[in-house]
Structure formats: structure tokens, C-alpha cells
């Protein structure tokens, strides 16, 4: 397949470099401030084995609307099919030395990034050379046998100037595995990415994903996320507008129930003039679920004319449900427009009564209100199968709630 360059000496050296870092006694495991609200301990408690290469089981995660796909199991590409001609797959070997040097740039230089680099079985490179005819579906799956495994997948997406990509990335698992993933996107000048990200790990799993986005001049990056699985999850999105006139849209949804902990951590850095960014993140939290939203917009001194907005809305379905929300602005330029905010609410009893008075039972009314809450985000997903999955997850949240 031309992907596996795991044996390359330079690749091994790159990994060794990270091993050396991890083993330094003063190497920071994590930044306490950036992790406020989320316990790191669960990661450190369970001893884990690096996941072996596993065969594909069944016809996993097939989405009829997405014929072009790459399946990555335990960090290795096991299959790919139906990819558009404008998209090429490769590995470490295909990266230029400049591209190799840029790996990990913009991501926190901590234990998690280093561990991913040290343990990644192979590097997947997706190169976009033109305007693809259809989306690329990147399915990540981790499966362990009896004992908890650690999976460190990593992919790099490179967009040539003026190209476009619709990318769907899914993360799923079986068993009590832990994923420590990295996904890096480099958008060339004038390129456009529509990125849909689904976290649907198994209920016993742990999931950390770092998405690093580098935007050149006049590029456009839009990310829709749904985080629904795993007992512990954290999605970090690090966007850096390194060119002028770049636009960024983050539109995320956290569906949290049971005893799940779900953290959305985003940092958008405007480093050049006339940047634009908008972020909407919504959390629906049921039962004893805990959600964290920590979103930062940074505007560097050179980023005059930046227009940034960020809002986080939270809907709590139970007394025990918790959310920790921290929208933040860090502005170092004068000529900017920035706004941010957050809201937390319960299901409105007046709305529930109105629906019930029209014959809609309490359970359906709750679901309808949750759907209404997320609708502005969910309706933008152009894939009915994935929208239906979200529907099912919301149904589970409202159903389980009624039993409490």
C-alpha cells in the first residue's frame, strides 16, 4: 500500500527522540492549568500494553454516504478503498524534511504528545492535490484482547494551495482501550477543509485526541465535532492562523451521560491580520455526566482586524450533571472585534408543559427539546447515517434520564 514506512531508520530515530524526552525526569506530563477540570490520573493508574496490530473485525463503521475510506486499526492502516483521485495516501517516506520538522508544531510539548510520537506504529499521510470528487472517511479503531491497550494513531493531512477536502474522521473501539491520537492538518494558501469528527469510543474506553491545524493565507477550516463515547475523553483542537485572511469555524457537540467525563479544549491563535473565527460549542449532560469546555481565542499583536466570536451553551438534564465552562480571550492587538460567552440551562418546564399539553409524552418532549437544542449544529452534517447516530445517542441520554 506504500504506507508502511515503519522500518525506516529516520522514522525510528524520530520516535526514539520522543522516548528520550518521555524518560527525562523533568519532562512535563501535562500542563496543570490547561487541564483544569479534567483528571489526568485515570491515564496514569492503569498499566497499559501497546496494542498489537490487529485484523479488521467485520465491516466496521461503514457509512453508505462515504464510499472513500481508510481504515486504521490500532494505529495502522489495514484497508483503504474508493478514495478520490485528487487524494493520495502515503507514510513517513513521502514527507519532505520540512514537513517532518513541522510534526507536532503547535501542539503542547508534554508527555501525551511525546508518548504519541514514541509509540505511533506508523504515520499516515494524506495528500490533497486538487479538488476531490467526494469526501475522505478516516476510520480509526482500537481493539485490545483481554488487557487494556494503548493505541497511538497519528495522521497528517497536507493540502496543496487552492485545494479542497471534506474529511470525516471517526474514532471507535472495542473494550477498555486508551487512545492517544494526533491528527495534524496543514492548509496551503487558499485551501478549504470541511472536517467532521466523531468520537464514538466504547463505554469503557479512554480517549485523547489532539488536532493541530495550521492555516496559511486565505485558507478556510471548518470543524464539526460530536463527542459521544468513552468513559473519559478529551478533544484538543489547536488552530493556528499563520497566514493573513484565514477563516476558522468550530462547531462542536458533547453528548455526555452515565458517569462519562468529556472535555473539549480548543485554542485558536490569530497570528496574522484579518483573521476570522467563530466557535459554537454545545454540551448536553445527563445523569452524573461531567462536561468541560475550555476554549481560548488568542489574538497576537500582528493580528489587526481580527474578528472572533465564541459561545458555549450547556443543557443539563439532571441535578447531578455538571459542566465546567471557560471561554477565554487573550488579545494583544488593538483593532479587533472579539466576543465570547457561555450559558447553562435546564430543560425549560414551560416548554415541557407546552409540548405535553399537545399530547406529546414527557419522554418524547424531553428528546424533542434536546434535539431542538442541538439542531443548529446537527442539521449541518451532510451525512444522514451520522446524523441518525447522533439521534440515537440523544435518545439514550433522555431515556436513561427518565429512569433516574
Amino acid at each position: 500500500m506504500g504506507i508502511d514506512s515503519a522500518g525506516e531508520a529516520s522514522f525510528l530515530a524520530w520516535r526514539e527522540q520522543a522516548w528520550a524526552q518521555v524518560q527525562q525526569p523533568d519532562w512535563p506530563v501535562y500542563d496543570q492549568e490547561a487541564w483544569r477540570g479534567t483528571e489526568v490520573k485515570p491515564w496514569l493508574q492503569v498499566p497499559r500494553r501497546l496494542a498489537p496490530v490487529a485484523p479488521v473485525k467485520g465491516d466496521m463503521a461503514r457509512v453508505p454516504e462515504l464510499p472513500g475510506r481508510v481504515v486504521v486499526v490500532n494505529g495502522r492502516v489495514v484497508a483503504h478503498e474508493g478514495l478520490p483521485a485528487a487524494v493520495g495516501l502515503g507514510g513517513w517516506r513521502e514527507l519532505t524534511s520540512a514537513e517532518r520538522a513541522s510534526l507536532g508544531q503547535g501542539l503542547p510539548a508534554d508527555g501525551f504528545t511525546a508518548l504519541n510520537q514514541a509509540a505511533v506504529p506508523e504515520l499516515l499521510v494524506v495528500r490533497v492535490r486538487g479538488i476531490p470528487t467526494h469526501p475522505v472517511h478516516l476510520v480509526h479503531y482500537s481493539q485490545g484482547e483481554a488487557e487494556p491497550v494503548l493505541v497511538c494513531p497519528r495522521a497528517v493531512v497536507q493540502l496543496a494551495p487552492g485545494t479542497q477536502l471534506t474529511l470525516v474522521t471517526e474514532y471507535g473501539s472495542a473494550g477498555a482501550g486508551a487512545t492517544n491520537g494526533v491528527l495534524e492538518l496543514h492548509l496551503g494558501p487558499g485551501s478549504r477543509v470541511e472536517h467532521y469528527l466523531v468520537q464514538r469510543e466504547s463505554p469503557a474506553a479512554m480517549h485523547l485526541l489532539r488536532v493541530g491545524v495550521h492555516q496559511s493565507q486565505d485558507s478556510h477550516y471548518a470543524l464539526w465535532t460530536v463527542s459521544a463515547g468513552a468513559r473519559w475523553s478529551r478533544c484538543e483542537v489547536w488552530v493556528e492562523q499563520t497566514g493573513a485572511g484565514a477563516t476558522t469555524q468550530l462547531r462542536g457537540l458533547s453528548l455526555v451521560g452515565g458517569k462519562q467525563h468529556s472535555d473539549m479544549h480548543s485554542v485558536i491563535t490569530h497570528a496574522q491580520p484579518r483573521g476570522f473565527s467563530r466557535q459554537v460549542h454545545k454540551c448536553v449532560v445527563a445523569q452524573q455526566g461531567q462536561a468541560v469546555f475550555h476554549g481560548t481565542v488568542r489574538v497576537k499583536p500582528a493580528a489587526q482586524g481580527t474578528d472572533a466570536g465564541q459561545i458555549n451553551h450547556n443543557l443539563l438534564l439532571s441535578q447531578q450533571a455538571k459542566v465546567d465552562t471557560r471561554p477565554q480571550l487573550a488579545i494583544q492587538a488593538d483593532e479587533v472585534q472579539c466576543k465570547h460567552g457561555a450559558t447553562v440551562s435546564d430543560l425549560d418546564p414551560a416548554m415541557l408543559f407546552y409540548l405535553q399539553s399537545r399530547g406529546i409524552d414527557a419522554q418524547s418532549a424531553r428528546l424533542l427539546l434536546v434535539e431542538g437544542f442541538v439542531q443548529e449544529l446537527l442539521r449541518e452534517w451532510p451525512f444522514p447515517t451520522l446524523r441518525q447516530d447522533c439521534q440515537t445517542w440523544m435518545q439514550q441520554l433522555t431515556q436513561a434520564e427518565a429512569m433516574v
Binding site: 408543559f353 407546552y354 405535553q356 399537545r358 399530547g359
Partner: protein
């Protein structure tokens, strides 16, 4: 209520000595009322007399606590039923202040409500296509544009549009008993005509209507058989259209002393 004599079969709603409170404050202090099929009752009275409370208690609003009395509706103990069960039995409350529900389209809401009642009646639910045909017909009654179906429920609707949307729901659900809580308030003359027209379409030998209104002007379009005056949590006077006209001429003050010690 198991004895179904010819006379009793005509009765839709019987309220006996109903008392209710909200947040510990007694509002209803012994309401008695009987509504038969084919009847239109107007309940008038000053602000704070308990008119709206009565309508919410009948619809099952959770903020209102019934402290005494009984309500029978179509042979059932109404107060034991959940709000949606009351709706399934054909009880409809037209809200004084219709609730806005962001993100839920009016069309989806109407179809869910309609099919919920169909299901309760063991009738097959309508699919989107058949429902569309039905709702188009109902939209004409209230002269609403189909564009209202794709907007969020009541969100950004004007006062008049919200009230027309209530009447649209009523027309669709074809209730046996409609309780309309100040549906006429805040309407200009054209909207009032449309709303009154919608109500008149519902009225028939099998339905009852309770119009709760502060003013007589709605009664220029809809003629009730019975006019009741509520004051201080009770119905203090009952008459016909002549009573409504007298209220219009004299106001409520002359009746207010009659709330206590009745």
C-alpha cells in the same frame, strides 16, 4: 359516573368545588362549572380572579396544586391524568402566552402532536406526505403561510401570529373541549376575525368551548350560551349574552363584593 343516562352523556366537563393554589397561595376557592357538548361558555372577570389558573389546572400544569374538589371529563377523573393524557382525550388549552421552542420546527411539532393523539386513539399515524396535505388545509383556516411550518415553534412570531398558531393547533387536533385563555388579547381587528373564524369552525354539536376573556369584543364574533363572571377564585355570576353586555357597560366593580361569603 358510571351511570350513563341520556342527559349525562351530553356532559363533557363537570367541575365541583375545585380549589387550587400556586406556591402555597390559594387561587381557586371553590369553582363549579358544567360544560355540555355543543356549548360555548365565556368566563370573564378582572385580572387575578383565577381565570387563567382554572385553565392551567384543567390542562394539568405542574405548578398548580389542586387542594380540593373534583373534575370529571368525558367520564374520567381528569385530575389523575398527565397533561398529555388529557390532550389525548381531546382537551385543548389555547395558551395566553404561547411558548417559544427554539430548534423545533413548527411542522415537526404539529405532526408529533397530531400523531400522538392518533396513536392514543388507535388510529394509524400519518406520514409526512399525508400530514402535509392535512396541514395545508388547516393553514388556510388561520390564513397562515406554509413558511410558518419550517420556522421554530413560535420563535420570532408576532403576538398575533402566536395566537393564530394556537388556533392552527386547535384546528388540527380537533379537540372535544377547547379552553382558550385570552386568545383574543393583543390581537388587531383582522387577526381577531381570523381567530374567531377558527374557533367558530370548531364549534359543533360534539364540542365544547370555554372562552376565557377579559373583554367583550371577542363575543361580537362568537356567541356563547353561557357567560360566567369569576372573582376572587369563584364563579360569582352566570348569565347569557346580556350579562356580557352589562359587564361591558358597567365594568366588574359591582360584582366584586360577591366573591367572598358565597
Amino acid at each position: 359516573m358510571t351511570v350513563a343516562t341520556a342527559v349525562e352523556a351530553e356532559v363533557l366537563l363537570t367541575i365541583r368545588d375545585l380549589t387550587a393554589e400556586v406556591e402555597g397561595v390559594p387561587i381557586l376557592k371553590g369553582v363549579n362549572l358544567t360544560v355540555k357538548k355543543g356549548e360555548v361558555h365565556a368566563i370573564m372577570g378582572p385580572n387575578g380572579s383565577g381565570k387563567s389558573t382554572l385553565s392551567k389546572v384543567l390542562a394539568g400544569h405542574p405548578d398548580y396544586r389542586v387542594t380540593g374538589g373534583e373534575v370529571w371529563y368525558r367520564g374520567q377523573d381528569l385530575l389523575r391524568l398527565a397533561p398529555e393524557e388529557r390532550a389525548h382525550l381531546g382537551l385543548f388549552l389555547g395558551f395566553q402566552q404561547p411558548v417559544e421552542i427554539p430548534g423545533v420546527t413548527n411542522g415537526d411539532f404539529l405532526r408529533l402532536a397530531y400523531n400522538a393523539r392518533r396513536k392514543a386513539q388507535n388510529l394509524p399515524e400519518l406520514d409526512a406526505l399525508d400530514f402535509d396535505e392535512l396541514i395545508q388545509e388547516k393553514l388556510r383556516i388561520v390564513q397562515m403561510d406554509a413558511a410558518f411550518l419550517s420556522r421554530s415553534v413560535n420563535e420570532g412570531f408576532s403576538g398575533g401570529e402566536k395566537k393564530r398558531n394556537e388556533i392552527l393547533q386547535m384546528a388540527l387536533l380537533a379537540p372535544e373541549l377547547a379552553i382558550l385563555d385570552e386568545t383574543d388579547s393583543g390581537l388587531d381587528i383582522d387577526a381577531l376575525r381570523i381567530v374567531a373564524g377558527g374557533i367558530n369552525q370548531l364549534i359543533g354539536p360534539h364540542n365544547g368551548v370555554i372562552l376565557i376573556t377579559h373583554y367583550q369584543r371577542l363575543l361580537n364574533y362568537i356567541t356563547p350560551q353561557w357567560v360566567h363572571v369569576m372573582a376572587q377564585g369563584r364563579i360569582v355570576r352566570t348569565g347569557g349574552m346580556a350579562l356580557a353586555q352589562e359587564l361591558e357597560a358597567r365594568g366588574y366593580d359591582w360584582l366584586l363584593g360577591q366573591g367572598d361569603g358565597n
